[in-house]
Every structure is written in C-alpha cells, then in structure tokens.
C-alpha cells in the first residue's frame, strides 16, 4: 500500500497560525486536518462582569483587520436587548464606516496576499516589482478605506468614536464631503483591479456549498437584514443559535461551526454574493459580468474577484452615503440598561459575525457568545482542502502543498479571530 504524508508548516499570507496534515493512501486522501494552534483568547469569559458599554471596544480587539465588524455586532446585540433602534442617520454612518473596513480588508487580501498566488509570486514585494501600478492602486484604495475609518471612527484601526447607540461625535459634513472625490476615483479603481485579476489563470474547482449570509430585500446587506441560506433558510438574527452551533474538535483551538442538523456551511464573499446578487448595484453587476462571474460562483479560487466587486460596491455605497450625509442629532441614542438577552449579526469582510449578550438591569454582561466567521468556515475549509487535494493528488508534494495553501487563502482566514495558520503535513505512506 502506498502512503504519502504532506505537512504544511507555517502558512504565510494569512492572519494567525495553523498547520495542515494530509494523509494519502493509495492515491486517496484519507485524512485532512486543518489544525489551528493560535492560543485560545478567552474574550467571552473576560466580558463577563464588565459593563455592556465596554463590549464594542473590547471585542474590537479580537481583530486588527475587521474591528468594525465586532464593534457593530456588539452594538446591535446590546441595542436589540435593550430595545433601542438607532436613527436612520446613525445607521447610515455605521454603514459608511463599515464600507471603509470592507475596502481596507478586501484590498489588502486580494491585491497583497491572494494575487501573488495566481502570478507565481511569493509575496507583495515581488508583486510590487512585477506589477507596480496594481500595487500603487491597491495601496491608494486601502488608504481610502483607512480614511473613511479615520474620519468616522476616529482612527484607521480600532475605532474610538463608535459607541453603544451610535457615535460619540458626528463627523463634520466638510470632512465627509472631502472624501467624495477619492470615493469617485475608488469606484473605477476597484473595477479596474477586478478586471485585471479576472485575467488570472484560475484553478478549476466547484464546491458544493451551503451559502449562509445576511439577506435583505432592498440592499446588499452589511449590517442589516435576516440570516438566510441558499437552501431557503430565512430567520431573524436572534434565531441564529437555534439553527447553528459550534463544536470543539481535538485537532484545533478554533471551534467548528455547523448547522444544528450537522451540515457544514460557508460564510463570506461567495455566500453573500450568491444570496444577494440581485441587491448589488447595476454597475457592480456589470463588473461581475465582465469578470466572467455568474450570479452564483462556486469556484473558491475566484473569490478574489468577488472581493473586488464588493470593494467597488463598498466605494459606491460610501459615495452615496457621503453625498447624502446628514449629521445624526443626537450622535447616539439614549441607552438604558434592561435585563435582557440581545443578539446582533453583521457581515464582516469574511462573513457573518454573530454576537449574543445577556445583561442585567444595571448593564453588566452576565454571558457573552461570539461566533466569528472563520470558525464557521472551518469545516468547509477542511472539505475544500480534501476536495482540492484529491483532485490534485498527482502533483508532487511541493506543488500540492502550494495548492493547499492557496485553498486556505481563498478564505482570507482570520485565524486569530477564529481561535479561537499554516503547516501542511501530507502523509502518502
């Protein structure tokens, strides 16, 4: 019997640390374990006993790439529990700052971390030598995302102007208006990067995905809507734990998300796009079509294109919101603690980020449950790896290792968030 073992140690161009063990027996992949060894972080435990008002700022520290997702999901959860609905102006400003995070995060991943895979390059330094204009455009786009975060959130990472109920201070209209010319440029720049990336030679793949995302009847959801799936699930945000759960597995410090009926599912750009294609702007749909994307895309290697379509959409949305900006008055809703359980869910760049808090009547957190996107995707990442490894089992170990790394990077995984990346061990006997 022939056996082959491949280990991929210290995966690069992902956020956090993990390893992958592949065992191949007689040409069949018999075992695939994506082990995350990023240490547990205990955020849910340390929130207990703290004021609910601290939850947005504390949970933002889970991630330096998608802090707005944590701020917004925490705010929404506690506001839901305490019966507060924010004003349309506050909601619009939240959506605008969230667009900044999508732009920042998607461009960093697509242009700097993911694109080298399709160009046979090792990193962003090499891409800067080969395609300097692409990198300059990407850096300027990323800086635009950061400026949105600075103007609205107070700084480019871990915002300080956000709070339960809204904002500490409404940004000056002049500061918002000053973003408009760059946002106008950003729409075209994102489209141009998408079209550049569409020329890559993508590996052929077709995942059998159950897509889960927020869904909304009127808009491409970022921080509004219900939770929906490609097989017809349509539930309110506070029914999430009735349908989804997280399991511990022996080989990873990250929990593995599953449907309660045992099925794995996919969150993130592919899912959001498939479930909400009709809500995209006509111009974003046009870019998607020019990139060769159908309304449902099942090749995870092409997720880079959806990230750029979403970047274009985020620039368009931020532009629309900036043009219509009305400073919220007051900048934050009044928050009165209620003994309650509240749940919130928003679309982090990597997929839905669900928060649930139980608070007492003085606003102290008694219990917190946070379900980040990357832990929800863990079982699907392993399924993708097994499928891709099997389809490429004839490649030599180095080529197979590289293909597996690419498969993981398709997810833009945020390992630190999920530890709640990569060494690959392939055992071929």
């Amino acid at each position: 019997m022939s056996e082959r073992t491949i280990t991929l140690d210290a995966l690069t161009r992902v956020e956090g640390e993990g390893t992958l063990d592949l065992t191949i027996r007689d040409g069949k992949v018999t075992q695939c374990a994506f082990r995350i060894f990023e240490p547990p972080r205990y955020f849910e435990a340390l929130l207990r006993g703290r004021a609910a008002s601290e939850a947005p700022d504390i949970t933002a520290r889970i991630c330096g790439i998608c802090p707005v997702a944590y701020v917004m999901s925490a705010c929404q959860a506690i506001e839901a529990g305490w019966g507060v609905t924010v004003s349309p102006e506050i909601h619009a400003l939240r959506r605008m700052v969230y667009c900044g995070e999508w732009i920042q995060s998607h461009v960093l991943h697509a242009a700097m971390l993911h694109a080298p895979d399709f160009l046979g390059l090792n990193d962003a330094i090499e891409i800067a030598r080969v395609a300097p204009d692409t990198v300059r455009t990407a850096l300027r786009l990323k800086a635009l995302g950061s400026r949105l975060m600075e103007v609205i959130g107070g700084r480019a990472v871990h915002p300080v102007n956000t709070r339960l109920g809204g904002f500490f201070r409404a940004p000056d209209p002049a500061a918002i208006a000053a973003l408009i010319p760059d946002l106008e440029w950003g729409v075209g720049a994102a489209r141009s990067l998408a079209l550049d990336f569409a020329r890559f030679d993508f590996p052929v793949d077709n995942g059998d995905y159950l897509f889960v995302s927020l869904v909304h009847p009127e808009t491409y959801p970022i921080l509004e809507g219900r939770i929906g799936s490609s097989d017809g699930l349509d539930i309110p945000v506070d029914a999430f734990h009735d349908h989804f759960c997280e399991d511990q597995v022996a080989h990873s410090t990250a929990l593995h998300g599953r449907m309660r009926d045992g099925r794995r599912y996919l969150v993130g750009p592919l899912a959001r796009y498939a479930n909400n294609y009709v809500q995209l702007s006509e111009t974003a749909k046009e870019t998607a079509a020019l990139c060769g994307l159908d309304p449902v895309e099942r090749n995870p290697f092409r997720s880079i294109l959806i990230r750029m379509v979403e970047t274009q959409y985020a620039c368009e949305e931020a532009l629309r919101l900036a043009r219509g900006y009305v400073p919220p008055q007051p900048a934050a809703m009044e928050m009165r603690p209620v003994a309650s359980v509240g749940e919130g869910c928003t679309e982090a760049p990597r997929g839905i980020c669900h928060h649930r808090y139980r608070t007492d009547d003085s606003g102290i957190i008694l219990e917190a449950t946070i379900v980040p996107p990357t832990s929800q995707n863990q079982p699907q990442i392993e399924a993708d790896l097994a499928r891709v490894a099997q389809a490429n089992v004839d490649l030599d170990d180095d080529a197979l290792r590289h293909r597996c790394e690419q498969t993981i990077r398709n997810y833009d995984p945020c390992i630190s968030c999920a530890t709640h990346f990569l060494k690959l061990k392939v055992d071929r006997g």
């Binding site: 956090g16 962003a124 300097p132 850096l139």
Partner: protein, 146 residues
C-alpha cells in the same frame, strides 16, 4: 505625489505587548518634545504612504534577533536592503521590513530612511518596557531630540 516635508519619526509596535511597544514609547516621548511623530500598529502596508510623502523618516521598531535586550541596530534603509527577519513579524504578515522593500520596489522610499531596531526581551501581553529596553529607548529619545 504629495509634497515631501520635515523629518517624521514613526514608532511601530503594540504597547500592550511589553517590549513590542518600544517604538510607540519613543514616538510619544519625541512628540512630547515637539517632534512630528506617528504611531503605527496596524499592517505594515500603511507605512508606505508616509514613506511616500516625507523626505526624512526614522522608524523605531522592536527586534527579536536573540541579542542582548536593549541592543540598538541602525539600518540605512534608503541605501541598503532591510534584513526582514529581525523585525518582529506583524500578526498580519506584513511587517516593517516587507513594507520598506515593497516601497523600494514601487520607487517611493524617502531619500533618508533610517530604521532603528531595539532588541526586546519580553513580548507577552502587558504594559511597560523591560529595564534595558527602556534605557536604550531613553538614550534614543535624547539623541534624536538633541
């Protein structure tokens, strides 16, 4: 490209990870003495814009090379490649070394770019620098503001 202006001091690191915060510690001390400073804690690519818009930049960052704590390394990054591995890697992959080399490839390094590495001893969660690192940091603050 924006106009290039006066000397900028950039402190890179995370003040909540002990000696990893030496860069921000120095930047804050220099800011208190009136210098133009920037504290940077996110991914390294965001350093390229200040590189592109200033003519004279000094970057302070913790190093982790196995030498004695407080050891100072000076690298004339405008004129020589940066040994990427000695600067403590960002959890987001792109650290100071990668940012400098990417900026070099794009042709947007400032004419003067000095990287100053301070060897750290402790990088666990928590605030405050270890004694040899703080001594080295203070010496650099005095030197840069002299």
């Amino acid at each position: 490209m924006a106009s290039r202006i006066e000397r900028l001091f950039i402190g890179v690191g995370n003040s909540l990870r002990r000696d990893d915060g030496v860069g921000p510690w120095i930047a804050e001390a220099l800011a208190a003495r009136g210098a133009k400073t920037l504290i940077h804690a996110g991914d390294g690519m965001a350093l390229i814009e200040p590189f592109d818009t200033h003519s004279d930049v000094v970057v302070f960052d913790a190093t982790q090379s196995g030498r004695a704590a407080g050891t100072i390394t000076r690298i004339d990054a405008a004129n020589a490649p940066v040994p990427v591995e000695i600067f403590r890697h960002s959890t987001h992959w792109i650290g100071v070394g990668e940012a400098v080399e990417t900026a070099r490839a794009l042709g947007c390094l400032p004419p003067r770019l000095l990287l100053i590495g301070i060897e750290g001893q402790r990088f666990e969660p928590g605030e405050g620098l270890s004694a040899p690192v703080e001594r080295a940091a203070q010496m650099l603050v005095d030197e840069m503001s002299a």
